[in-house]
Amino acid sequence: MKKKCMLFLSCITILIGLTVLSGCNSDKVVLNIFNWGEYIDPELLVKFEKETGIRVNQDLFETNEHMLAKLEGGGSYYDVIFPSDYVIEEMIKKDMLQKIDFNNVPNFKYVGDRFKNLNYDPTNEYSVPYFWGTLGILYNTEMVDEEVDSWDILWDEKYAGQILMLDSMRDTIGVALRKLGYSVNTTDPEILEQAKNLLIQQKPLVNGYYVDEIKDMMINGDAALALNWSGSAMDIYWEGADYIKFVVPKEGANLWFDCMVIPKTSKHKKEAEMFINFMLDPENAYQNSLYVGYVSPVTEAFERIMQENPEIADMDAYNPSDEVLDNCEVFIDLGDARPLFNNVWTEKKYAE
């Protein structure tokens, strides 16, 4: 009896060990992607599996910094990751990415020229744009009467307790820097000190610092104003909450590009390229953009959505004017100045 019991126990231990270590044991290639929350249409993953026989397994991250920390921690097995511009720059510097063979990504030709060869990847060898957009203020027109056109409103005591900020370091510090009239990429310690004081001063007015929760809280009327990305505004718009509007303040903001990259640790480069190519197919890009709400760099998809919904053509969130875009900057990798930003962020967070 006891022997049987022991045999049983050992079997269980071995089984648990095996499941943990092997993950999957079928011959089918499994592509592991590491993506932002609610950032891909799950139907497309099914479609991709049907077309190619490759199963896609998705893990989620909340901010670029979290993604990088997990990747640098080691032991990750991702094949496609979706980082933003400045992080791609850092990853290239740190030799964390593989060059993409564009012969396997013929659909790259559908990507608009203005999304190619950008500063973070000047020769465009490592990244393929996925979504792009700006940073701005979401506001509830039932709770905010005045015209919103400046970051100042996020410091207005009238809205104490009704402001949501992003729990994302570069974005929130960037807003303080733009409000002060400086570049979002400033590394001058004195200016960062001013930005820090501004953020600490704002803290009592802020209801909370969140990321993925903001969208639902705004729709629910939990807050009047929120710092968020343009794509969230589109997502809210497609959901029909027309009392929420989005504006890129006149002081300017951040212009960002989320891309698809293949990390060095990937063992399925070919399949990863197939996946990237699949996502660039105009039909798929169209479907994905409608589902996620964010704006696609694939020209055909971008224009088709605008033709079908002419009213979005003059929305900051979907089709920002050149005037707005000229006022926006792309984040660049901070390099050695990163500790300065970390310091501002911690001091803000732990200030009483």
């Binding site: 307790g161 909370g208 629910n220 939990d222």
Partner: protein
């Protein structure tokens, strides 16, 4: 012979423990005592820098806040949980299981899900405030804030207080209580002189089971505190997930562990010296 066989049965668990608990603990200790690039072992050198950083005023305030909130929530869990445990232990068997289910079923649900549920109850335009405005009462602004964090902690950890106390209470020999009443003790006297002292082991393990997760939580404080009530758990989590500073994160973890070990040692002195060797958890 029999003893040896029993030992063999424990081997898989021991291997498991060494790989997943003992070795990682030593790694944490190692990282806390070094500085340099964690990906380049040759750059690591001995340093107490990380420990010195803990004494930053901002960090100390958040550590003190964590202990304060954990202490209050443990206390409230005790005062809420003890009567419940007493009721469950003394009620008719028919109702006992139903009551126990009330405490167990929520644990089956994911912890994160339960905390998100509290978010939609407590948020400014959430369920609670809609109910209040429906009744014509003024709205409450609980979330985000310490009250919301406390509520989240108490809700999530209350079963860990109730269950060990219930286990101990239900094991108390009825004849002891009969003896007390035979000797003239009234109900209140029996409770304070007999039941309460006998349930100390359950109380001790209940307090430990609530205090430990409460002091180190980071999900509850992040979601219900809106990123404004950052506790030591958040501080540790950020070092690994945001700042990539494993050294400081490890130092904080070691300090938290030491404080918890000390408080557990103090707690165990209150434990009655019965032969059970500590209190049963369930």
């Amino acid at each position: 012979m029999k003893k040896n066989r029993a030992k063999i049965l424990a081997y898989p668990y021991m291997v498991w423990m060494i790989i997943f608990i003992v070795i990682p603990l030593f790694l944490v200790l190692f990282y806390s005592l070094t500085k340099g690039n964690i990906h380049d072992p040759s750059s690591l050198s001995f340093s107490l820098e990380s420990y010195a950083r803990v004494f930053d005023r901002n960090y100390l305030t958040s550590i003190v806040k964590s202990f304060k909130l954990a202490f209050i929530s443990t206390l409230l869990c005790f005062f809420l949980g003890y009567p419940v445990a007493l009721i469950i232990a003394t009620i008719k068997a028919k109702y006992k299981n139903i009551l126990l289910m009330f405490f167990l079923v929520p644990i089956w649900m994911n912890f994160l899900l339960r905390t998100y549920a509290w978010m939609s109850i407590l948020s400014p335009n959430g369920f609670l405030n809609r109910l209040l405005s429906f009744l014509g009462l003024p709205a409450l602004s609980i979330m985000p804030g310490q009250t919301a964090v406390l509520l989240g902690m108490i809700y999530n950890f209350l079963p860990f207080m109730v269950l060990p106390i219930y286990t101990v209470l239900s094991k108390i020999d009825k004849s002891v209580l009969e003896a007390a009443s035979d000797l003239g003790a009234n109900k209140i006297g029996t409770f304070f002189k007999v039941i309460l002292p006998l349930s100390v082991p359950g109380i001790v393990s209940g307090i430990t089971m609530v205090f430990m997760p409460a002091v180190s939580t980071f999900v509850i404080s992040r979601l219900l505190g809106g990123g404004k009530e950052s506790l030591i758990g958040n501080l540790i989590e950020e070092q690994f997930s945001l700042y990539r500073d494993w050294h400081f994160g490890s130092a904080l973890s070691i300090i938290l562990m030491i404080v918890i070990l000390i408080s557990m040692a103090v707690m165990s002195r209150f434990e009655s010296d019965n032969d059970n060797g500590g209190a049963p958890i369930w």
